[in-house]
Amino acid sequence: MKQTTLIYKLIMALTGLFLCFFLIIHLLGNLQLLSPPELAREQFNWYSHLLSGNIVIKIISYVLYLSIIAHAVYALIITRVNAKAKGSKYVYDNRSEVSSWNSRNMGILGTIILIFLIIHFKDYWYIYKFGNLPLDADGNKNLYTIVITSFQQAWYVILYELSFIALGFHLLHGFFSAARTLGLYHRRYAQAIRIVGWIYSLAITLGFMLIPIYIYFNLNS
């Protein structure tokens, strides 16, 4: 059977939902940064170490990399198909009146998130994996200090906050859209998923947004 648009959409939905799930784990880890500094350092570094050692975690991390790549690549493929489907442009286009901005601009939001991810990977993941990090008291790599230091810079905090806003809008549509692509059609449950999507997006976004601000204002030396 040939590949169809719906299969592309399924890939987008499944990878997207996996990334949604990962965001929860990531946020839970990051929330440790809100503990008192000494405890936070110990816990956060231990947690980072845990995520890099375990074989199960390793598999999950490969799934994660794959998901990010597939999500981006298929987004590109879909965008190309859609561009071809569109035909000529409307001279006067007011279609924006009937749908939400974020649902129409998932591509732009996604691109912002992707750029952010590259910076994010470069600054933390790459340094953690391949850089020479000092060790903390327990012998774990001291990622904590790197994080705290980076969030001392206002521009860096602003960059993060903006990216999280983009993420929030992306999630708001993406979560519900993925559920529909998977085949949710029952009126009541579709409504429930919309509400869950709202709560989830809000929690993730605010949670991630809180941390840099907290660090910037409370741990500035």
Binding site: K9, L10, V91, Y92, R95, V98, S99, R180, Y185
Partner: protein
Amino acid sequence: MKLKLKIWRQENREAKGNIISYDVEGISEHMSFLEMLDLLNERLIKQGERVIEFDHDCREGICGACGMMINGRAHGPLSGTTTCQLHMRSFKDGETVYIEPFRAAAFPVLRDLKIDRSAFDHIIQSGGYVSASTGQAPESNSILIPHNITEAAFDAAACIGCGACVATCKNSSAALFTSAKISHLVLLPQGKTESADRVIQMVNQMDEEGFGHCSNTDACEVECPQEISTLHIGRMNYEYNKALLLRK
């Protein structure tokens, strides 16, 4: 009242079109939008110019022939209304109104505002039916269908095939049209037996015709004259995924 119309004129499929301006006077608020165009055409004939070609037939919102982008909205500013049921009381005196054909790669323009929507017929041909030949039918009350199921099937079957869903979609997706037919038939016991093949074939055909992906923006539901719900798209996806997993 008086309007400034900016109308898309295009000679044929291959030609490049452009917007031409017309000032129209003597419009009454009771006129339907199409009657307003009749008025303009009458004037064009007097002036010896070629009339504006547009599709229209029943003028009561059910045949699905009419359809144009009016001020950048499919079927004009009202939701859930066909172009023929749009009345001039929805416009202000002196307003500028842009009129364009529904646009999508799968809906080529034939002339002016007339488009070719045969892609929809092809989608139905690919499986949008119950294979019940004349003479095969059992006694109608031997198939019991609960009230709410019939009503739900009707909601989906009410589609008039106008193409507003495609026109308003940022990706020119035919998901609402296709899913409405899939939903209509899968809800009813008569249509269930063929459901797996039907959904796969119809979705494939939808792609083949050159329609885009559904991004779930729900714009189609707003513009659909029959207010067909995007939940049907969810059902189409469900049926499709089920068929992928379970079809032999």
